[in-house]
């Protein structure tokens, strides 16, 4: 019996590419064409995210760790740095009155761009209202309560419809209640502080505060794999940086 060697005909090869794109579109894991993902500018980080960056038309969750869980200060700065690099006004929905506007400015998000809304228990409604308004750079919600799968799906769909980025900052009231339920968010980040390096790399004896360092844990990612990166925190334009020792050395370890 002769062996039949099957090889796809030449004409079928372009079909594979379009088939892949079709599957990706159905799975909704890749960003819409025409809406490029927001990259961090760090190839190691961008490479792990589908589309080479944060999906702009999606819901993302950010939270702090340990003692910073209630205050979510680093997480708030991280969120501000992301939205600083997108054009347009930002809606920031608050529950507690402890956000300091000049702090946003130091992360690159100019306070003149931000509309604040004190929504109390109506935070999710206010966020949805903001997500339906095309033209915003993004909406940030500081949420202390639970985020159900249904609610998160609504927010994700609203973000997809208009291309407004949705960021939920989880900050529970008590330090022990780390949120870990399933939600429809495209990514879930955990930001914790790391000891920073010396102020002047070439003169370690000089006292002072260098650039802040964070450990970014990507806990969940749709269409990608979890990972952990040590980066330098947002500068005045909202860009993250690679820790100098690793910038020249081998890749940062992925979890």
């Amino acid at each position: 019996m002769e062996q039949i060697q099957y090889a796809p005909p030449r004409s079928a090869l372009p079909c594979l590419g379009s088939l892949r794109a079709e599957v990706a579109r159905i799975e909704r894991s890749a960003p819409r064409p025409g809406l490029p993902a927001l990259s961090f500018g760090i190839p190691l980080l961008d490479g792990a995210l589908p589309g080479g960056g944060l999906r702009v038309d999606a819901l993302h969750e950010v939270m702090g760790v340990g003692p910073d869980l209630q205050h979510a200060a680093a997480a708030a700065r991280f969120a501000a740095g992301i939205l600083a690099r997108r054009p347009g006004p930002v809606l920031w929905v608050l529950e507690r009155a402890d956000l300091f506007a000049p702090g946003l400015a130091s992360a690159g998000l100019h306070p003149d761009r931000v509309i604040f809304a004190r929504a109390g228990r109506d935070g999710l409604l206010a966020m949805e209202e903001g997500l339906r308004h095309r033209g915003l750079a993004g909406v940030v919600l500081e949420l202390s309560g639970p985020l159900s799968l249904t609610a998160s799906r609504r927010l994700h769909l609203a973000a997809e419809a208009t291309g407004v980025m949705a960021l939920v900052l989880r900050r529970p009231w008590h330090a022990g209640e780390a949120p870990d339920g399933t939600t429809a968010a495209a990514t879930r980040w955990q930001v914790s502080a790391l000891p920073s390096g010396p102020l002047l790399p070439h003169a370690p004896g000089v006292s002072g505060l260098g650039r802040v360092r964070w450990r970014l844990d990507l806990l969940r990612c749709r269409g990608g794999r979890p990972g952990r990166w040590d980066v330098e925190g947002c500068d005045a334009q909202g860009h993250l940086g690679l820790v100098p020792a690793l910038a020249n050395g081998p890749a940062a370890a992925a979890a």
Binding site: A73, I115, G130, R134, S207
Partner: protein, 473 residues
């Protein structure tokens, strides 16, 4: 009143008490007209107003209180506005018109007369007391009515004197009597007024809608009951009015939607916009969001959309390039849902003291022109009030070596500072010499804190060297 004169006194008696008294003939017709105009003027506070002759005005403030930050604030605003014209008013908010009328006139308060009623079903939270008016908490109108004299129930004069002769002085006495005996002896009037005041019988306020306002009314062949039907009707009302506004070059700043029910009652919802708008989609969307507050009762037989406040809105030219997106629609929707005070922007204030360096302004206000100062990096979280911590530091300029906050000890690895801030002696005398030395510190785990010490360590008048945590980076 201070001269000892009372209404109902004989003229001869009055002139005897006060020689040189100027006497003018009363003009009830002119007074009634003036009262109607006053009721029409009060339209800016509530969508449904009506005169309450001879000396009062009803306002139905259901659902309007949040636009004024609370019912007490609404009464204060009203009283203040009337005071500017020299009118003293006495006001009250209660669940029923009868109760509001009674409490406004017969509580021990400064003279005048004006009352406001928010019928049962309104969403009213506990509020701080008003200076000039009385707010009767929801459901507490029974207790509020009990000690009032029976004159407060709007009964005829002969009936009042008959009741008083029999020893019935207060509303509580009347309430205690059996209903059948009351009706048999005194007629149905007493029982009706009692029921109206307590809310057992609905008393509709017939609203006065000034003719000159832009309005459109639609009647239905069959009374509408469902929310979907009402929202379709809303769109039919909004579209022609927006067309008329376009023709007149106006935009609406405030809209009232009145629902006329089959049983004669009228309900209203009011929305406001930050900038004049005649966008039919935006306006009907905001009205539809409030539809669930309306109780259609047995059916709504007509709806009227009134525009009490309109401002000129010229033709808008599409800009040649990408314009900054217009957020006024978003701000309107959020303000109508959460209250106008809850949506704001931050503006810098020229002050070194961090907690005073930011001011909250309405979201659509123009920028004040002061730029944000570029100083040291500011923390993202600011604690109100600054939390006391225990810290160990060498005076006068060193950062602490460690500090304890909430029983957790943080050893400090890196620090920056001090940044000295002098207090503002023009704000408070206590701050004459006070200084704060701010330090940005990082502990062993990398977390960063904003600490300050009161006092410069050299002069005890500048502060007692206590340490506080003010912010988190």
């Amino acid at each position: 009143m201070a001269l000892g004169l009372r209404p109902g006194m004989a003229l001869a008696h009055a002139t005897a008490l006060v020689p040189g008294l100027v006497v003018l003939d009363g003009q009830p017709g002119a007074d009634a007209d003036a009262l109607r105009r006053l009721a029409a003027w009060c339209h800016r506070y509530a969508p449904l107003t009506a005169p309450d002759p001879p000396d009062g005005v009803w306002l139905d403030v259901t659902g309007c209180a949040h636009l004024f930050r609370g019912e007490a604030a609404l009464l204060d605003a009203l009283a203040e506005r009337f005071m500017r014209d020299g009118l003293h008013v006495r006001s009250a908010i209660a669940d029923t018109p009868g109760a509001a009328h009674a409490v406004a006139r017969h509580r021990a308060k400064p003279p005048g007369a004006q009352d406001a009623a928010a019928p049962a079903g309104a969403d009213r939270a506990a509020a701080p007391p008003s200076r000039d008016g009385t707010v009767v908490p929801p459901g507490a109108h029974r207790d509020a009515l009990a000690p009032l004299p029976i004159v407060a129930l709007r009964l005829a004069a002969e009936l009042v004197s008959t009741l008083r002769r029999l020893g019935l002085e207060r509303v509580a006495h009347l309430e205690r009597l059996p209903r059948a005996a009351l009706v048999r002896r005194f007629g149905p009037q007493v029982a009706l007024r009692l029921d109206q005041a307590h809310g057992r019988v609905h008393e509709p306020i017939l609203p006065l809608v000034p003719e000159e306002l832009l309005q459109h009314r639609v009647t239905f062949l069959e009374p509408l009951l469902t929310a979907e039907a009402l929202s379709v009707a809303v769109q039919h009302l909004v579209a022609p009015l927006c067309a008329r506004m376009e023709g007149a070059g106006l935009g609406a700043r405030r809209l009232d939607l009145l629902f006329e029910r089959v049983d004669g009652g009228v309900q209203a919802i009011r929305i406001g916009t930050g900038r004049p708008s005649r966008d039919a989609k935006h306006l009907s969307r905001m009205l539809e969001e409030r539809l669930e507050e309306v109780d259609p009762g047995l059916g709504v037989e007509a709806m009227r959309l009134v525009i009490p406040l309109a401002e000129p809105l010229g033709w808008r030219q599409d800009a040649a390039g990408p314009a900054t997106p217009d957020v006024s629609a978003l701000v309107d929707r959020l303000s109508n849902r959460l209250g106008a005070a809850q949506v704001f922007r931050a503006e810098p204030v020229e002050s070194d003291v961090p907690e005073r360096s930011v001011r909250l302004v309405p979201a659509l206000a123009r920028h004040g022109g002061i730029g944000w100062p570029s100083r040291w990096p500011a923390p993202v979280r600011l604690l109100h009030p600054p939390q006391p911590v225990e810290a160990l530091a060498a005076l006068p300029d060193s950062a602490p070596a460690a500090f304890t906050w909430r029983r957790h000890r943080h050893r400090i690895r890196h620090a920056d500072g001090p940044e000295r801030i002098h207090a503002e002696w023009w704000v408070r005398d206590k701050e004459m010499w006070a200084v704060r030395d701010y330090f940005r510190v990082e502990d062993g785990d990398g977390a960063r804190f904003w600490l300050f010490r009161r006092g410069d360590g050299v002069d005890p008048a500048t502060g007692a060297l206590e340490w506080f945590l003010h912010g988190l980076f």
